[in-house]
Symmetry: D2
């Protein structure tokens, strides 16, 4: 038996998504996103975000981020991001490739989060022909450490960006977990705080594979479909992605999945924090828990059937990363807590 | 009622593909193509092609072509292709974008097909630093005119390519139709004739959206997965693409779909050729029929509920393009034939 | 003894350019084009072109063309050019490399010249997301065949371009020869006829190495200096290029060089046309003469010390290309005419 | 009267370079680097470096660095460099642009120098498809702080690089100053210590504009000339660059210029270190002196006619940067020392 805490994308998709896709598949449909299902997606998101949106379904988060940033930055554009961000570390240079001549500029910041000070210092001299110009700022919401930005924090970063002529991108592959955790309105966390484009994920919430790029200003979306086509991301049966988005966002499935995943991480975090020698390394705010446990403990847990990844922290070395999902069961969490206690006891 | 002859990708996917995908989705699975379903795909294609292959499932034909060509060409690479080819006309520059510094060189050739003479003349001077070097040759099988290359024709083109140090790519989005029509073995049409990489389609045969890039030499596939990741084409639940490929190619579904589509085109072609004033413009070899009919006739057909695209022929102006698929019904074809007869009669 | 008819860029630079450069080099000067010599260049060209210009000195014609086209086209831009143009055949893909995602679209046309019909047919469907958009048109003035466009011809092409939202580029590496030959005003041949950006050469007229990119609309030049910097074309001692431009264009040196070169080609052309069995293949309009002479004749001429290149004509095979320059002497031309007569006599 | 300490590239070129260029310009010469002057350059550098070299003259340091790194890295290549390096901060993204898909990875390190620890930690996981692979390491010799690496330090970095399959690039725009200062042999500082490609400058030593890319292994130089052509860096009269290189490196001019510049910086540094309240911020090892002086002092110096740039140090804020060159006079340095003393006295 394996208990899988590796990532929310190794979990099985929720049955609801496959059902929705099956039902949606009704007959001859216009290709390349001109179909009726894709057409309805924009209205749905306009309701959720209380604002006009232009929406582009897309297969993967990497594609969504790279194309969205290519769209809002430019050929001399420097994109500020956190040094731990997925776009910088885990997308094989997709952002730079899709925006030739551009560059990601990695910045420091506590808990995986950008802060206004580091961003302000990174702006440099705007009219120096020898330098790339800062054109965009990318916020990971939630961060790779499982933390998130409050609407106020997003607003401050975006204000700095806007004052300096920069656009604001949000990598929202786990945006659902942030909404579920913060109870802030989607609008508040995005356009009301200055976000120009949101890459919103359904995959980690249980879709087979579907994300959506949302622009809050129609003018910023011009030619985006050409960017998609050119990168091979305009499937003829686009409606299959749109149907998954509907299944996810039309009812409350996205928040239900996220709340469950968050609750499982909270259960794990709380159990460890109560009189336990190993406490979570970062604040447990969404669906990830990081533990500073040694090689022997990690080996023991894996022998007991718990699967997980490690990440390297600059100061403190290797951390175990435990990710929960819509499919994580309370019992699995409790078993993990027991196993950790056991490992600690053995070591003592 | 609409009778849709626009493209094989507006037809509904075959139920078998959705069923297969549903059944495949069994639990926690490794992400990014490390799962067991994807692993089995290579053996399946090795059987079909009677040769070791390295196989990469991918969402769209545009992505498959662009990445395959980026892989086998290089930063100074000129890729010979037919001037009517999909990669040149209908992929928004994807090939060039994914292979920065490379170029597609469009060539003439009868019936949408490259020929050895035009290719040989296009080679230029190989060691001239002022010129791009010819590094690859791309064959569309079937062509955009619905014609196809015999194994012998492929072999001659590939021999020229090899003699000049070039790699050979085959855009096989409708490769199934060619196998069905020619009754040649897949091996014969590809590696035995000198093809290095085949982009093989399942989408036009009724999959929701799944193609596969097949390399016949392991060394040519190095780092291809990084190309996929960088372009956002490494979905975490890759198995969903692999499951569709299994459904398509494991049994004979791919050939069954193709035979049916071809038969429907043949039925249309034959009916027109028999004592009919409007005969197919190109030989009807796979699942496309081109008709030189005037604006009034096209309008009439559309009023009668027949939907189709037009293409522009260099010499003869606008042609109607009628595409059949796994979902085209004999009755639809017969109705179309009647309508054409009727239009001609009206005009006379 | 060698008589060199290979190209105007193998001729020695005129002494005036080196003298000017020496004299200009007076002391500490601001780097990267902020110096006083570079500053004066714009006024000089404004006088010559009777219009405000923004001017960027640059080392080579390839760089000038590639950067100018990168500036006026864009990431989905298709640039119409003649299939014989230097940017398509002889710059190793520089235009496409410097404009990632863009493409050169090679067109047919008599005598190396684009015509309105071919261009109009190449425009395609502007709002089709599957296609690259036509964004620019590139005119070689003079052409690679030594012919040139009248102001009226430029105007017609530019009008078509403008009507379709395209910008107009002129590759004027031999623009001096056209002005000298046509006696049209520089203004007439450029902005008055709709040209947006001119890449104007001094190198082929005898500078060591200096071209200039001239924009006739300040807004189109935005960020161009960053394009130069990024491609390594912003030398710290930019004034050395500017000084050569001054030497060339301040007095009449550019036209003097061009008139002489044209006269030498005319002398050759006229001698051949008078009762001679071998007449120039293309009209001799500037400083190039093309001859359809066989291998034996070419060998004979080379044995006699005449050096020249060959080009391949699509219809008629290999042609000898004879280029004259500021340094070509009348005696050299006469010797060449004699040698050709002799070769023909031998063959008879 | 202005005393210019801004950069060695605002100084006038040495008369010897213009003379050499004038003398070299003898008649008709083969274009694009096929001439006899360029041909001799390789032998000259082979003597200086005691090793076979392949040499490519090039106009600017930015072009030299970008093309050299494009050559040795690749489409998934991550290039380790110091966060203060010229390629990262002052070349407008040239390296990334010329190597599409690649990335510069900026690292910390004392005194502007990379160290083995930071590099080792940056290597990451080599076989992870989600990450760019580290393919090259770039050493600035001298650094932007005016410090330099000993041969031993270069060797240690290169050994780490080689062990991990990475190539080693040296940005040697001020390599002459390092040789002059360290008295190490050019061979010792480069190929003997593991450097694969050196971008060696003549411009900052007084050439008009000439650098050279030197490969120590012929195989690594393949197709480099195409890279040059494609970027517009293959001037027809290449011999003009080669002639400057000869003037610089044939006799001892390069070291003479560098020794003088270094001596002037040392004179400034020494005067400040002797009983002076303001001491150089970084060790004065080549031709740059950095001073932490306040706004008032900077203003005073500028009023007195001293021109210089400032840089921002991460910890200590704005520093004045004073650069000496072949043209700096001892009296100018002494005047500057007096002015600084005076400013300090005023402030006290």
């Amino acid at each position: 038996m394996t208990y899988d805490f590796r990532s929310d994308n190794v979990a099985p998709p929720r049955a609801e998504f496959l059902d929705a896709a099956l039902r949606s598949c009704a007959g001859w449909m216009d290709a390349y996103g001109e179909d009726s299902i894709t057409a309805r997606v924009e209205d749905m998101f306009a309701d959720i975000f209380e604002h006009e949106v232009v929406a582009f379904p897309i297969l993967t988060g990497t594609a969504a981020n790279a194309l969205a940033l290519a769209q809002i930055s430019n050929r001399f554009g420097q994109i500020l991001c956190h040094r731990s961000s997925h776009i910088y570390l885990d997308e094989c240079g997709a952002v730079e490739f899709h925006n030739p001549g551009g560059r990601l500029k990695p910045l420091n910041g506590e808990g995986g989060k950008l802060d206004v000070d580091h961003c302000a210092r990174a702006l440099g001299v705007i009219d120096d022909v020898h330098q790339l110009r800062c054109t965009a700022l990318s916020i990971s919401q939630a961060t790779e450490m499982g933390t998130y930005y409050s609407a106020g924090e997003v607003g401050k970063l975006a204000a700095l960006a806007k004052k300096n002529g920069m656009a604001v991108h949000m990598d929202g592959t786990r945006f659902a977990n942030v909404v579920a955790a913060s109870e802030a309105a989607p609008a508040e966390l995005t356009w009301q705080s200055g976000v120009d484009v949101l890459c919103l994920g359904a995959t980690k919430g249980g879709a087979i594979g579907a994300e959506v790029v949302l622009f809050f200003d129609r003018h910023q979306a011009m030619d985006f479909k050409r960017l998609m086509k050119r990168s091979g991301h305009l499937p003829s049966r686009m409606w299959f992605l749109a149907a998954q988005l509907q299944a996810c966002f039309q009812g409350g499935l996205w928040l239900e999945s996220a709340r469950h995943a968050n609750a499982m991480a909270a259960r794990l975090g709380a159990a460890l924090e109560t009189g336990h020698p190993i406490v979570p390394y970062h604040p447990v705010q969404t669906n990830m828990v990081f533990l500073k446990i040694d090689q022997a403990t990690r080996d023991y847990l894996r022998q007991q059937g718990f699967d997980f990844y490690t990440v390297e922290d600059e100061k403190d070395g290797i951390l175990a990363r435990l990710v929960t999902s819509h499919a994580t069961q309370p019992d699995d969490v409790d078993r993990l807590v027991d196993a950790i206690r056991c490992a600690v006891h053995n070591a003592a």
